[in-house]
């Protein structure tokens, strides 16, 4: 511990004559970069101008007004003083300015209409209004109808129902195409009339008759209304819809395709065999699948999948084949641009373009691939190894990586012209 230091401090305090050691001698910089200017201090809170605050207060007052005397009088009729005190406390707890500045209303279709004055029944959120037998005034005498009364009641109810379907009255001449609809409407109206309780029971008390027609006296709950908006249409599930595969759904999103388009793909599993993983616990058998997928119009993909579960492996390979689909350039949408050669491992695949009407004269694997890709004229050779997996991979890569005449022309700086179908009015190949 230094003894001098406190002593010097003491001296400096005692006598001001001793020069202070704060002589500003220039300090040697440690780098050549110029020193950064000191950061300007910013306040932690944004400073709000008085006029802005006034505007905010004004907006708060206008959009969330305080209860005036007439309203408090109305409230006091409905609520007890303690409830009113609670309401006022709740109102004070929330600052209207905070609601304006920070509050954010929900915009989704399922938001609950909190700002509701409860004047109307909401068929979705509210309980259906119900009436009981105590609400019927007068005598509650009911008897079964006789035939005449029943027919009259059915006719009347049927007319009412028809009037709902044709608010402008039934036209004199119904066009042929609407004939069927009219017949159906008639049948519906009469059936409803027959099923209505007024057709079965009658009473001398008109209040009871009203109650019979009133759906609020019905034991059954009324149907929920059909909501029509985009969200509902997307999430609606019909009974005939099959179980949706989450993987398929994700892939549809990835591809940006409709389900119908996916159904139109040609998918075929070309290679299946068992593979074994040797672990210290023993052998684990699983199945390997190689699948091709194409839309028959210039897209082709190859996918592999492997799993202990056969179905799972197959599904994997199908999904990856669809995901791997790549465009295949085709000459006149029927064959390839010139001859191709590709080597994968010990497998060599040679593909030859052929004239129209030649067909697919290739081995079965290349045939399936050409069909899935939408090639019609092709011949091929696999002169070396014919390993199935390698043949498929080599063919796929050869088809995907063709050199196009346009690119060759750009690369060489020459003009290349296709003279097929040029002479004799294009009638000769």
């Amino acid at each position: 511990m230094s003894v001098c230091r406190p002593a010097r401090c003491l001296f400096s305090k005692a006598s001001s004559s001793i020069p202070k050691p704060s002589a500003p001698h220039p300090r040697r910089p440690f780098s050549t970069t110029p020193p950064r200017p000191v950061r300007k201090r910013r306040p932690h809170y944004p400073s709000i101008k008085a006029e802005d605050l006034a505007l905010l207060n004004q907006a708060a007052d206008s959009s969330f007004p305080k209860y005036d005397t007439s309203e408090t009088a109305l409230l006091s009729k409905k609520y007890t003083p303690s409830q009113i005190a609670a309401i006022q406390a709740a109102e004070q707890a929330l600052d209207a300015r905070d609601i304006i500045v920070q509050g954010q209303g929900r915009t989704d279709p399922w938001r609950v209409p909190y700002e509701d004055d409860m004047a109307e029944m909401d068929p979705v959120t509210d309980h259906a209004e119900k009436l009981s037998h105590t609400d019927i005034k007068g005598r509650k005498n009911v008897r079964l109808t006789n035939a005449v009364e029943r027919d009259a009641a059915i006719a009347q109810i049927g007319n009412e129902t028809l009037a709902k379907m044709y608010p402008d009255g039934i036209p004199d001449e119904i066009p042929k195409k609407d004939q069927e609809f009219f017949q159906e409407a008639m049948t519906t109206a009469l059936t409803q009339g027959a099923l209505d309780p007024r057709a079965v029971f009658t009473s001398t008390n008109p209040k009871v008759l009203e109650a019979l027609a009133d759906p609020r006296h019905d034991v059954r709950l009324p149907d929920l209304p059909r909501i029509e908006n985009k969200m509902v249409r997307q999430t609606r599930r019909l009974s005939q819809d099959e179980e949706e595969d989450p993987r398929q759904k994700r892939m549809l999103q990835y591809l940006g395709w409709e389900k119908e388009k996916l159904r139109g793909l040609r998918v075929k599993t070309l290679v299946v065999h068992g593979v074994v993983n040797q672990t210290r616990m023993g052998k684990i058998r699983s199945l390997y699948y190689l699948t091709i997928a194409g839309n028959g119009d210039g897209l082709l993909g190859v996918g592999e999948g492997k799993s202990v579960e056969p179905d799972e492996g197959r599904k994997q390979s199908v999904m990856s084949a669809i995901r791997n689909m790549r465009p295949i350039p085709r000459y006149e949408n029927r064959t390839i641009f010139g001859d191709l050669e590709k080597k994968v491992g010990a497998t060599k695949v040679q593909l030859y373009s052929r004239p129209p009407g030649f067909g697919l004269r290739t081995q079965h694997l290349i045939f399936e691939m050409a069909r899935a890709a939408g090639l019609q004229d092709l011949s091929a050779r696999t002169p070396k190894s014919r390993n199935k997996m390698n043949v498929i991979k080599a063919t796929w890569e050869a088809l995907c990586n063709q050199r196009l005449p346009d690119e060759i022309a750009r690369g060489r700086g020459k003009k290349l012209v296709d003279v097929r179908k040029v002479y004799y009015g294009g009638s000769v190949h």
Binding site: F337, G338, D339, Y352, S353, Q402, R403, L404, P405, E407, I408, A409, R410, G411, R412, G413, K414, L416
Partner: protein
Amino acid sequence: MSLVNLAHVCSHLQNASKARLGLTSIPVSKLHANLMLGLQREGFISSLTLGGPTPPAPYLLQTQTPLSDHEHMAQKLETEPWLAYGGGEASLKASGARPPRDTAVRVPLNPARRRLWLGLKYWNNEPVLKHMQLISKPTRRIWLTVEDLSKITRTRASSYVGGLTRPGECMFLTTDRGILEARECVERRTGGMALCRVW
């Protein structure tokens, strides 16, 4: 005329383009020079310069106009746009462009030290010249007639020579009118000895 050296050139060009070289050199002979001129005409190589064991200065490989003259050239081309096509240098020189700085190519006096420097071309990360192989072999020359060539250029095999089936494939022949491309031979109605095919 030994085809052994030509075979070496073929494989060297394939190797150089696989290695993505921009500039490579081959030994000089009249056959090589004429064949390379044919390749340049077909757009397979970008430049062809006679030089020594060291590569020529890069600015010799292309005719350049100094930056200061560009504006003048643009004005000239605006009034006389045909100068951009025909006549090339002469017309542009007439338009006032200065000749490039040091045009002297230093070719060694000793012919054995001379090399042909070729500029290789690439497009879309792919070499423009990818394959080059002999048709005639040193021990087996193949001469083709016009009839053979017209078949071969229509992708049919003839005289034990396969057709030009790959897109953009070219075949070079040595004829009594110099080294020509197969389609050119058909046009001029001459046959010749097949040298190599390029694609």
